[in-house]
């Protein structure tokens, strides 16, 4: 009996210790902001909750890193390390050169407008309190910002003042992680209620919605009056923008969900899937151009096309990514960089969830910008496929 009693005491202590250790564990990293490129300036929503502005040539800071909110420190649980409130950013900032403002949405439920050269806050929406958590990115179109929230609503804000443009936000049936896309007089946005919506951009009323079998996470691509997007139901869709009728649907389902945005070039759709394959379709017919290109690991980051190549980042385990190219003529994949080779002390999570972004240097060369999950910023020349530089985004 004493033996059993002692064992039970020991077991209880272990359970309690595990519970306590869970509270003492280092906070996880969150956020997957891409890099906004505006001329020679780069803007990133850092994983430590600040907006970073860099000169792309000199890599010097445009302004001191701007915390989106004054950080609050809370005391730890039973003596564990104290926790600091960090405002995560999941959407890539957007820049208005006309207004000289950078806009970024925080997971804390606020949208910020910050001067692009001095890093001074210009306005914040809402002026007090919060609206909803924002995961999707902002879209700037004709000086109006559009964004979907975790509350399932689409918001439209005047970019100069931050005041709502629509009488009320448009409500979908579930969370919105996707970034809206504007084209002409229509705003397109996918929701986790499994619908792709087309809204009147002037007042946010619905034109049509198209139902799929799964949640929609990606931003659509619109070309020649057709809306292209993938769904969590593992199918890829082309929907007529005029009336929301189906143009075509992929004949075979992919292995997992479509998380990343599709890319279109020369009437070819490149749809990267979480099963590690890039599905390549003829934009007009939906016929596969070639057998899906298998890169062997999940793809969450939105690819980009530059110089006749599709650049793709795949997850490689739980803390690393690989950068691939797929030739858009031969569709041949090539591994150009394993990012774990770039790990340094304190920076050992090279997962790429953020979208890949393109800019140009002073000589007109295409530069690929990669923002990794450990907040490292990498610049790669797309022609030579050589890493030009890398540094912590906040250094």
């Amino acid at each position: 009996m004493k033996f059993i009693f002692k064992i039970l005491i020991a077991l209880s202590s272990v359970i309690l210790l595990i519970s306590l250790l869970a509270g003492c564990a280092a906070p996880a990293v969150h956020g997957w902001s891409g890099v906004a490129v505006s001329g020679n300036n780069l803007y990133i929503g850092s994983t430590n909750g600040s907006l970073v502005g860099l000169n792309a040539t000199t890599r010097s800071k445009l302004f001191n890193d701007l915390p989106l909110e004054a950080t609050a420190t809370t005391s730890g649980f039973l003596g564990c390390a104290s926790a600091t409130t960090i405002i995560y950013t999941y959407g890539t900032p957007v820049v208005s050169m006309d207004l000289n403002l950078v806009f970024v949405a925080g997971y804390n439920g606020r949208v910020y407008a910050i001067s692009a050269d001095r890093g001074v806050q210009h306005w914040v929406y809402p002026p007090s309190g919060v609206v909803t958590k924002f995961v999707g990115g902002l879209t700037l179109y004709k000086n109006v910002l559009y964004i979907g929230g975790v509350d399932g609503k689409v918001y439209a804000l005047d970019a100069a003042t931050g005041t709502p443009v629509w009488a009320e936000p448009f409500a979908t049936g579930n969370e919105i992680y996707a970034t809206p896309v504007a084209d002409g007089d229509t705003l397109y946005v996918g929701s986790y209620d499994k619908n792709m919506y087309a809204l009147n951009i002037s007042d946010g009323t619905e034109k049509w919605h198209f139902a799929t079998g799964g949640a929609i996470n990606c931003a659509p691509v619109i070309q020649n009056g057709v809306v292209y997007f993938g769904s969590f139901d593992r199918n890829f869709y082309a929907v007529n923008a005029a009336d929301g009728s189906l143009a075509w649907k992929s004949k075979d389902s992919a292995g997992k969900w479509y998380w990343a945005n599709p890319v279109v070039s020369n009437n070819i759709i490149y749809a990267a899937n979480f099963d590690g394959k890039v599905y390549i379709y003829d934009a007009a017919t939906g016929n596969p151009v070639i057998t899906p290109v298998d890169l062997g690991a999940a793809i969450a980051s939105t690819p980009v096309i530059a110089g006749g190549k599709l650049f793709v980042a795949t997850e490689d385990g739980k803390s690393d990514s690989k950068i691939w190219t797929i030739d858009t003529t031969t569709y041949t994949p090539k591994l150009i960089k394993d990012l774990k080779d770039m790990n340094t002390s304190g920076y050992t999570n090279k997962l790429v969830y953020a979208p890949l972004d393109l800019g140009q240097d002073a000589s007109g060369n295409n530069i690929l910008y990669i923002h990794t999950h450990d907040n490292t910023l990498i610049a790669l020349n797309t022609d030579t496929e050589v890493i030009l530089w890398s540094q912590p985004a906040n250094s």
Partner: protein
């Protein structure tokens, strides 16, 4: 993925499938998987309960041994083993089932936490755990709301943590016999309150989905215990084992 991840992966996919069958209700899915897991390990649970009851039943004889052999520990130990053998039990009969159940609890806890995905990063990370079942991709995101609480967050109204503590206390009380030995009585009282209070305290900080699992699991255990041993220590007894009842005579 390592072997442990495969176990968690299986539980995640089963939870999603159950939710799909049970009206897309994540709370019902957690209740269902709790019932399934408890039924699967019922042989171990029954063995544990019977072992504990047998241990209680031989307590008077154990006390006699203590009195008879005094400080001869070797003799006491060998006589105890004889008693265990006669009763058809082993000292570890209570512990082995617990050691088997604990990894199951931990795996289910991790599966619930991953599936409820408190942050977008957690939701994205869920993708690597999904089987290629169509139901997985049409059912996500997994809803978080059940009754009055958010399954991914601690129950702010504290009803669930209290239920966790209360059901665990009833369970403990049922297996705690009255004892004439003051020292053992003290130990029993400590165990009666320590575990429920500890789990109640943990429940304040853990996701409500896990608390829901604990409550359902405790209720099942109470039911099984009742069918094997009755209400046990929950019903006050007139006398404790080994305690003589002295009748006043006039």
């Amino acid at each position: 993925m390592n072997p442990w991840d495969y176990i968690v992966q299986a539980m995640i996919n089963i939870l999603i499938a159950l939710s799909h069958v049970l009206f897309n209700n994540p709370g019902l899915a957690i209740i269902a998987i709790t019932i399934i897991i408890n039924l699967a390990i019922m042989p171990l649970t029954l063995k544990q309960i019977k072992s504990a009851k047998a241990m209680q039943d031989i307590q008077p004889k154990m006390q006699e041994l203590q009195k008879k052999y005094g400080k001869d520990k070797q003799k006491i130990a060998s006589e105890q083993m004889r008693l265990y053998k006669e009763a058809g039990m082993s000292p570890a009969g209570c512990i082995v089932p617990l050691l088997v159940q604990t990894p199951v609890w931990i795996a289910l806890y991790q599966a619930i936490i991953k599936l409820l995905a408190a942050t977008p990063d957690d939701f994205l990370g869920l993708g690597r755990y999904l089987y290629s079942w169509q139901v997985n991709f049409t059912s996500l995101p997994f809803g978080n709301h059940f009754l009055w609480f958010n399954l991914a967050q601690p129950d702010s109204i504290l009803i669930l943590p209290i239920l966790v503590g209360a059901t665990m206390w009833v369970q403990q009380k049922m297996v705690t016999p009255p004892n004439a030995n003051p020292q053992q009585q003290s130990q029993s009282q400590m165990m009666l309150w320590m575990m429920p209070l500890m789990f109640l305290f943990i429940s304040f900080n853990f996701a409500a989905g896990l608390s829901l699992y604990w409550v359902v699991s405790s209720l099942m255990r109470i039911g099984i215990q009742y069918f094997v041993t009755g209400w046990g220590g929950l019903i006050p007894h007139k006398e404790a084992p080994g305690q003589a009842v002295v009748k006043k005579t006039t």
